[in-house]
Symmetry: C2
Subunit: 204 residues, 2 copies
Amino acid sequence: MTEQRARGGRPRGSTRERILDVALQLFNEQGYDKTSLREIAERLQVTKAALYYHFERKEDILLQLHLRLHELGREVLDRLGNLDAAADKTLAWMEMLDQFIDQIVANRDLFLLHQRNHNAFEVLEHSESHTAEHEDLEAQMRRLLADTSIPLTRRVRMASAIGAVLGALMGAGEAFPDATPEEVAEIVREIVRELLEQREKARV
Amino acid sequence: MTEQRARGGRPRGSTRERILDVALQLFNEQGYDKTSLREIAERLQVTKAALYYHFERKEDILLQLHLRLHELGREVLDRLGNLDAAADKTLAWMEMLDQFIDQIVANRDLFLLHQRNHNAFEVLEHSESHTAEHEDLEAQMRRLLADTSIPLTRRVRMASAIGAVLGALMGAGEAFPDATPEEVAEIVREIVRELLEQREKARV
DNA sequence: GTCTATATTTCGATAGAC
DNA sequence: GTCTATCGAAATATAGAC
C-alpha cells in the first residue's frame, strides 16, 4: 500500500526511482540538510554506498527532484509564452494559474519540497547546469512581475493570486480535511478570477 | 552604514544582539543548517568559542530569533482573541491581516527566516520550551482555518488572504522596486478586503 | 548493482588559560 | 568575554571485493 502510489508516468520500481521517492519523502519530513544518505539507505534496505552507484553526489538527488518540478514549470510556461505578446495578459494569467492549481493538487509533495527547502534549491541554481534555459518557474514568474510596462496594481494582484493559490493549497496544510482537494481548488479558482478580472471602475 | 540599521527598540550593539543580527543575515542567505558557527564568528571577527559564552547551543540562536517573531505573533493574536467569540469574525480577520501586513513590512527579514527555514523551526517546536502557550502564530492560524463551524468557502478565502499577503510582500522578492513597501502594502490591504468581505449574493 | 571498510572533512561543543 | 586547542560525532564520499 505504501509502495503502490503511482507517480507520473515513469518507470516504476527501478532502484533509481525508488531512491528519489524515498528521498522526497524524507526531505519533506526532515528537510534536505538534516536528511543523511544513511537514512535514505536504511529506509530502502540498502547501504549508503549503493546510493553512490546511482547518484554521484547527494546534491544530484535533489537536482533530479528539481528536474521533475522543472518539467511541470515548462508546461505552464509554454502555454504562457504563446500569449506573451497579447495586449491583455489577464486571460493568459488566469489560464496559467488554472494549470498551476491542477499541478499543485497532483504533485503536492514536489511543491512542498520546493517550498520547504528553498535554500537548498538556491545552491542548485548557483552551480552548473543553470546555464541559461534552465530557468526556474519561480524565477520566470519574478521576471513577469518585474515588467514595469504593466501597472503596479495589476502586478501586485498577480503576485497575490499566486500567493493565494499557495496559501490555500499548500500553506493551510491539512486544514481542510472536510473537503476534497478538488473542492478547495475550485474555490481557489474563483478567488483567482476575482483577483485578476478587469473590474469596470464605473461601478459605484 | 551597515551597522546602523536600527531594529526594534532593543539594546543595540551588545555582542549578543550583534550575534543574532549576523546570524539572521547568514541564515537568510544560506539557510540555518548550511550556516556554521565558524562563519558567524568570522563575520563578527571573533572566534567560535566566544559564541558559546552567549549561547549554549547553536539551536539557541535560532530560538531567540524565533522569540522575536513570537512577540509579533502575540500582538496579532491578542487583538484577535478579544473578538474571538464575535458572531461575525470577518472584521476581526481583516484587522488582524492589516496588522500582519504592517509587521511584515517592518520585519521582512524575520518573516523571511521563518519562511525559508521552515524545517529548522519545526524541530524547535518539538523540543522543550514549547510546553503550551508558546504556540506559534502559524499554528494558531491553522487552528482557525480548521474550525469547521465556519463555512468551507470562508476558511479557504482566509487561507488565500494570508497567502496573498505573503505572495505580494514576501514571495515577489524585490519584484516591485518601482514602488515603496507602503504602496504595495496598500494594494494588498485592498485585496484582503475584497477576499474577505461579505458580498451580497443578490447582485447579478 | 550492492557490499565492507575506510578516507576525509567539517561541525558542534568543551576545557582551561588569560 | 574572548582566546587557543582539541575532542568526539556524524556526514559525504571513495576504494575495491563480490
